[in-house]
């Protein structure tokens, strides 16, 4: 009876070992797959970065504009309104006061 029990235990341990080993193997393979996937994704990120860099380059934009018959010029000074600090300040100060009041109300 005791021999049978030992045999069952040993067999159980052996199967347990084999199961764990299989689990390790599966996990290892999964890790390798993920490593490889990470490498692929990193390479893809670099490729996409490179493409994006190319797409937004001045040369490419100019080519696209020509392709679609778009013409752009720098806006002349007469079309540019520059806001100086004194002009901004009264409104900005009022907005700041309002924002501070709002914040204080919320805390209450």
């Amino acid at each position: 009876m005791s021999l049978a029990l030992i045999l069952v235990l040993v067999t159980g341990l052996a199967f347990g070992y084999l199961w764990l080993r299989d689990q390790c193997d599966t996990t290892g393979r999964r890790l390798q797959e993920l490593e490889s996937r990470r490498g692929d994704l990193q390479r893809q990120i670099l490729r996409e970065e490179s493409k994006w860099s190319n797409l937004k380059s001045a040369k490419n934009l100019e080519q696209l504009m020509a392709q679609f018959h778009l013409a752009m010029v720098w806006p002349g000074e007469q079309y540019t309104k520059r806001l100086s600090r004194p002009e901004l300040e009264p409104e900005a100060a009022a907005e700041m006061q309002y924002a501070q009041r709002e914040l204080a109300t919320r805390h209450d």
């Binding site: 390798q32 390479r43 670099l46 490179s50 860099s53 380059s57 001045a58 040369k59």
Partner: protein
């Protein structure tokens, strides 16, 4: 039946004994052999750091690419080598005869069809499922902008060693640390994961952020291209720099080359003329000598010199002006660029004083910009000067300079006399995002006082006004201070009247502390008018006009305001 079971049991026991013997017995040599077969060391390639412009636009990057490999014996065994060869040639845009010649080698098992092919092309070939065709992965340097800023960026060779420009100068930062993996493989050459004994991941090299602005660089290169085409010039180069910080916003030298095809470029194309081409500057040099004379109180802006109606004999040798002038004030000598006037002004100083100023302005030594191949120019020791030297140096003869040296001098004149080392590196960032180095303005010398600088700014602003030599460099709405230069190239020991170096250097807005300075040089322009004002002035104007809009530098002159009836500007000082 018992006999069979007994035999089977004996066989199993023998097998078990053998297994035990193999595992625990003295089998060192066998174990070593197995270990050697299983064990492998993999050097994991280190990605090179990126090179980016000041706003983070990528200028150089490492990309994964593929080598297309064929096994000729297998291709021939497929029975359809011609089809495979033609398909490869078509997709890779190669000569079919060359591809067929490579495939038609029955004794070879490995032949490169093409190296460093983009992934998309490799995928296209993979989908064709051509027998005997495989790929291996390599990391290759890629320059997404092609020829843009080619001389600044430089290139890394096939071994990934930086061989020009920033790639060369900062190779030790850009190259990463390779990784190492020591592990074991099974019978099917797959890694046995739990036998991995060492795994050091590769360390990516540091990213380098340049001070260059990609868009501004493009504008500059385009303007130079147009100038070369318009004047059928041999070449043209330009530098845009922030006066106060010394940051170089654009540096272009044409003709250039595509960085992805650097092996097909010749040495002349690879030369960064902005820092590597030494030429006699001509009249732009007058800025340095006149600034020195004003700083030494040897002359005043109102002081009048006789410009001898265009020809003056000094020590028995004639000195000529491009346009004959009579009496000219110092201010007008600069405005009208009189050689005779400049010589007479410079002759008010001693040789040692002039030499001291020129060295303080940085002549005769490299500026120290972080680029390889920078020339220091030529400024002979005073002991080697002749009795004529002072009169010739006054107008930019007998000296050799680079465009960057000239711009550096002009920046010092504009920047309250403070000379700042020009820089092209903004910061270095490692793979973890830590800043390794950040560039800060580096003060080098103060050749002239702040008051002299203010005076020079006013005097130089007159050059682009009516009656000056640089009217074509004027930008509407901005006060442009600058100087024209037209030098004759020395060919076979004498000056050639046909081969000129035309230049214009200037800064704008003249009185804004955030002013930018631009230097434009056009080499051997053709046509009737080859002066700096006619050839380089408009290029300067084109670059400056776009640069101020792009950098959002507000105008300092109301557009409606005229330039007439304005008081002499230096009188307010």
């Amino acid at each position: 039946m018992d006999l069979v079971a007994g035999l089977l049991l004996i066989a199993l026991m023998a097998l078990a004994a053998r297994i035990v013997q193999l595992h625990v017995g003295p089998n060192d040599s066998l174990r070593r052999r197995i270990d050697q077969t299983r064990r492998y060391e993999d050097r994991l390639p280190e990605p090179r750091g990126r090179i980016l412009d000041r706003h983070g636009n990528i200028l150089a990057i490492d990309l994964a690419m593929r080598n297309v490999i064929a096994d000729p014996s297998e291709v021939l065994a497929s029975g359809n080598p011609r089809f495979i060869g033609l398909q490869l040639a078509r997709v890779l845009q190669l000569d079919p005869a060359m591809v067929m010649a490579r495939l038609n080698r029955p004794n070879r098992r490995f032949e490169y069809i093409q190296q460093r092919v983009p992934d998309e092309t490799a995928d296209l070939i993979r989908r064709m499922q051509l027998r005997g065709v495989s790929f291996d992965e390599v990391s290759a340097r890629h320059y997404p902008q092609g020829p843009l800023a080619c001389h600044v960026i430089g290139f890394a060779n096939l071994e990934n060693v930086g061989s020009a420009g920033i790639e060369q100068r900062f190779h030790t930062y850009l190259r990463g640390q390779p990784g190492l993996r020591v592990s074991e493989k099974d019978g099917r050459r797959r890694e046995i994961f739990d036998r991995r004994v060492l795994d050091i991941p590769p360390q990516r090299g540091a990213d380098i952020y340049l001070t260059i602005d990609q868009n501004l660089q493009y504008m500059v290169e385009k303007a130079l291209e147009s100038a070369i085409a318009e004047h059928q010039a041999k070449g043209a180069w330009a530098v845009v720099q922030r006066v106060r910080t010394g940051e170089i916003l654009a540096m272009a030298s044409l003709p250039g080359f595509d960085l992805n095809e650097y092996r097909s470029a010749d040495d002349l194309q690879k030369l960064n003329r902005a820092i590597g081409y030494v030429y006699e500057p001509g009249s732009t040099f007058k800025v340095a000598t006149i600034a020195a004379a004003l700083n030494e109180h040897r002359v005043t802006p109102d002081q009048v010199f006789d410009c001898e109606n265009g020809c003056w004999f000094f020590k028995g040798r004639p000195l000529r002006d491009y346009h004959p002038n009579g009496l000219l004030s110092v201010a007008d000598v600069l405005k009208k660029s009189s050689n005779i006037g400049a010589a007479k002004i410079t002759l008010t100083m001693e040789e040692k004083t002039v030499e001291r100023y020129l060295r303080a302005f940085g002549y005769g030594a490299p500026t120290g910009v972080e680029l390889p191949g920078e020339e220091g120019g030529i400024l002979a020791d005073r002991s080697q000067w002749t009795s004529l030297s002072l009169s010739r140096i006054a107008m930019g003869h007998e000296v050799g300079v680079t465009a960057l040296q000239m711009l550096n001098m002009l920046c010092a004149v504009a920047n309250d006399g403070m000379r700042v080392r020009p820089t092209i590196i903004r910061r270095l960032v490692d793979a973890e995002g830590h800043t390794l180095m950040e560039s800060k303005p580096e003060f080098v010398a103060q050749p002239i006082r702040s008051e002299t600088s203010a005076l020079m700014r006013k005097l130089l602003a007159r050059v682009t006004e009516e009656g000056g030599t640089g009217t074509r460099a004027a930008v509407e709405g901005y006060t442009v201070a600058g100087k024209t230069g037209t030098a004759e190239k020395a060919i076979n020991g004498s000056y050639s009247s046909r081969a000129n170096v035309s230049s214009f250097m200037g800064f704008l807005p003249a009185e804004d502390p955030d002013r930018i300075a631009i230097m434009v040089v056009v080499d051997e322009p053709q046509g009737a008018f080859r002066t700096g004002g006619v050839v380089a002035g408009p290029v300067f104007r084109e670059i400056a006009r776009q640069a101020v809009r792009y950098l959002d530098i507000p105008p300092d002159v109301p557009v409606e305001a005229g330039v007439e009836n304005k008081p002499e500007p230096w009188r307010s000082l």
